[in-house]
């Protein structure tokens, strides 16, 4: 499904990713952990094609296809979804309009028919209900006046509607209270399927108790320095990242 090969990337001329390799197979959930500033969000942004994030070397293949030459919207239509660490507020664009425009744009690009209003409303109502999002909120501007936790839930709502094949979740757990964490994790787990892969970026074991990963990676100084099973997350919780920071410094 996803192959990241020897990825080097710079942001504003600053080298952040230094030869990152990662393979996520179909149906798998991988967690990425790592210290602040190690490049986790950078990896997510590079995958989604954020302007200013320049790949200087390497490849990102989605189902064998190099996505680096594609625009962000094309990547999304190919099935890539990034749940933002900091979802943005878009005053004046109603959430409903945003969701519908996004969904129909993706469908159009894939040669599928646009959804009728009743079809769309039913989809949103179902998905929002499961995430305990009030429909009234969706009439407001995108994320405008949403609390931190509501913004994160709204990201998962978008993911549920867009049905991506590869989900990248950047610290979706941060800012969530215990109940919201459960709602969001359940939302993510409902999307787990043999055809869908996930890359879950987090600092905390807590999230991985809910969304149990198949593989855990440690990212440090722009590369994967250790890969293991779900028990690796527990180990990190106990020992921290100090050992890997040394390793990364050594490796680069």
């Amino acid at each position: 499904m996803l192959e990241v090969k020897n990825l080097h990337a710079t942001v504003d001329g600053k080298q952040i990713l230094n030869g990152l390799d990662l393979v996520v197979d179909k149906g798998e959930v991988h967690a990425i952990m790592g210290p602040n500033g190690s490049g986790k969000s950078t990896l997510a942004y590079v995958m989604a094609g954020k302007p200013g994030y320049e790949v200087t070397q390497g490849q990102i293949l989605l189902d064998g296809e190099d996505i680096l030459a594609m625009h962000s919207d094309e990547r999304a239509a190919k099935g890539l979804f990034l749940a933002f660490q900091y979802p943005l507020e878009i005053p004046g664009v109603a959430t409903m309009t945003f969701l519908r425009t996004a969904l129909n744009a993706q469908r159009k690009k894939r040669g599928e028919a646009e959804l009728s209003t009743p079809e769309f409303l039913k989809l949103v109502r179902d998905a929002a209900g499961k995430l305990e999002i009030d429909m009234e909120m969706l009439r407001r501007g995108v994320n405008v006046g949403f609390s931190g936790g509501e913004k994160k839930r709204n990201e998962i709502l978008q993911m549920a509607l867009l049905q991506p094949r590869l989900c990248v979740l950047d610290e979706t757990d941060s800012g969530l209270d215990i109940d919201a964490l459960k709602i969001v994790s359940d939302g993510v787990n409902r999307l787990r399927s043999p055809d869908r892969s996930m890359l879950v970026i987090t600092h905390y074991q807590r999230l991985l108790d809910h969304i149990v990963p198949d593989v855990v990676h440690v990212l440090s100084a722009g590369r994967i320095v250790k890969t293991g099973g779900k028990e690796l997350a527990l180990e990190l919780e106990a020992s921290g990242y100090a050992q890997f920071q040394g390793e990364a410094a050594h490796a680069s």
Binding site: G49, K50, P51, D73, L88, T97
Partner: protein, 443 residues
């Protein structure tokens, strides 16, 4: 030195003065109106067309932008009238009473004067001038006479037709009045329209002006508006036209006590457009919203100039202007709020935003506060910038193509100002205009 410069008249100024002296005997009006015209013509002779050394016009050098004056438009022929049938379509399917002017002349056959609701009177300015109408005699040129305004003087000298609307005390006019000004003549011409609208105390009306034009015309239009005490008036002006159109518009409004006045200017065309608005608060406790949205591309130059004069205490004014600029266009916003010494408890807020879609576009903003009272709340803000790249990325990351993402953001930007229009149908119709504009841009 100044006198010397002033004496050198441009071709346009000479032609306009000549048009007045040659045509004045054929212009409508009795003795008082003749005197008004003479005085205005003398003022225009002294002031000339405004130019960049006139502070209020420093961004819009009309003298330079209008080198030649077009000949005065004649009465429209059948073909011209036929071409005007579709004018004023930007209001969408809003039901309104159409009053149509073609090439500056009232056209009865395109206008709907039947079944006027009680208290509503509408007639053409030409008729009113010829008949020495007392309403016109009482108000014309007196509502908020701007000082040293060459274009208003020119309008007064050469005004030929327009609308005279009167709404009697306490009357509610349910159906909006739509004044459609279509300049469709095939040879470029000058058009001078002048309207007077008097809304008596406690009355309610919505007035929409649509200005459409074909190639190369020069339009100078003015509206004097009297809003009585406790009246509620919505005024929306929609201006479109080709890139070689010169459109100069002056709105002069006096607003009484405890009234509501909601003004909106929507600009979506024209080569050189100047919308100047002079609003004076004459009575206390009034709420006024003065808003506008402009969409500019190519080499368009659109200037919105506002003078809001708080002469009475306890009034609230809100100014919100949004301008979207593409191509090599230039947008100008000048907003001046004056608060007189006794206009205590004035609450005036002015916000102007420019969204630059191209590196070649330019937006200038000049807000001014002149406050002579001490117990007031006044503020202004101005922003100018490109589309937010992060927001665009967020939309694109959800699968929305770049042009659509930009269109959504532009609609949101303009929408904030358009929200100020009370009529939902008209709001939707104008948003459709915005969408169409974005499509034409390559959406």
């Amino acid at each position: 030195m100044n006198a010397e410069i002033r004496n050198i008249k441009t071709n346009a100024e000479l032609a306009l003065a000549e048009a007045y002296s040659a045509g004045k005997t054929r212009l409508p009006g009795g003795r008082n109106v003749v005197a008004l015209r003479e005085e205005a013509a003398a003022r225009f002779d002294a002031l000339g067309l405004p130019h960049r050394r006139v502070e209020e016009w420093k961004y819009t050098d009309l003298r330079a932008l209008m080198r030649e004056a077009r000949p005065i438009a004649g009465a429209p022929d059948a073909a011209g009238i036929a071409r005007a049938k579709d004018a004023g379509k930007r209001i969408g399917d809003m039901d309104a009473r159409r009053i149509v002017f073609v090439d500056g002349t009232f056209v009865a056959e395109l206008s709907d004067l039947a079944d006027l609701s009680p208290g509503l009177t509408i007639r053409s300015m030409a008729q009113a001038l010829a008949a020495c109408d007392p309403l016109v005699e009482a108000h014309l040129g007196k509502v908020v006479p701007p000082e040293r305004e060459g274009v208003v003087a020119l309008n007064t000298a050469l005004m030929r037709d327009g609308a005279v609307v009167h709404v009697a005390k306490g009357a509610t006019v349910e159906r909006p009045i739509h004044l459609v000004f279509a300049t469709t003549g095939q040879t470029p011409a000058s058009v001078f329209t002048r309207s007077l609208v008097v809304i008596e105390a406690g009355a309610r009306v919505m007035l929409v002006e649509s200005h459409d034009a074909s190639a190369g015309h020069q339009v100078n239009t003015a509206l004097e508006l009297v809003v009585g005490d406790k009246a509620h008036v919505d005024h929306i002006k929609i201006t479109g036209g080709p890139s070689d159109l010169v459109h100069v518009s002056s709105l002069m409004a006096s607003v009484g006590a405890h009234a509501r006045f909601n003004d909106f200017a929507f600009n979506i065309g024209g080569g050189v457009v100047r919308n100047q608005t002079f609003v004076r608060f004459d009575g206390e406790g009034t709420l006024a919203g003065l808003r506008g949205a402009s969409l500019l591309n190519g080499k368009q130059h659109v200037d919105s100039t506002l003078v809001v004069d708080h002469q009475a205490p306890g009034c609230q004014s809100r100014e919100v202007f949004a301008t979207v600029l593409d191509g090599e266009s230039r947008g100008v916003f000048q907003g001046k709020i004056v608060v007189r010494p006794h206009a205590q408890q004035t609450d005036a807020r002015m916000m102007t935003r420019a969204l630059l879609l191209s590196d070649e576009a330019e937006a200038d903003s000049k807000p001014e506060l002149e406050i002579f009272a001490d117990d007031v709340q006044c503020g202004h803000g101005a922003t100018s910038g490109a589309l937010d790249e992060d927001l665009k990325f967020y939309l694109m990351a959800r699968g929305i193509p770049e042009t659509d993402a930009e269109a959504l953001l532009v609609q949101a930007f303009v929408g904030e100002a358009i929200e100020g229009i009370e009529h939902a149908g008209l709001r939707d119709a104008l948003m459709e205009q915005v969408v169409a504009w974005l499509w034409a841009r390559g959406g």
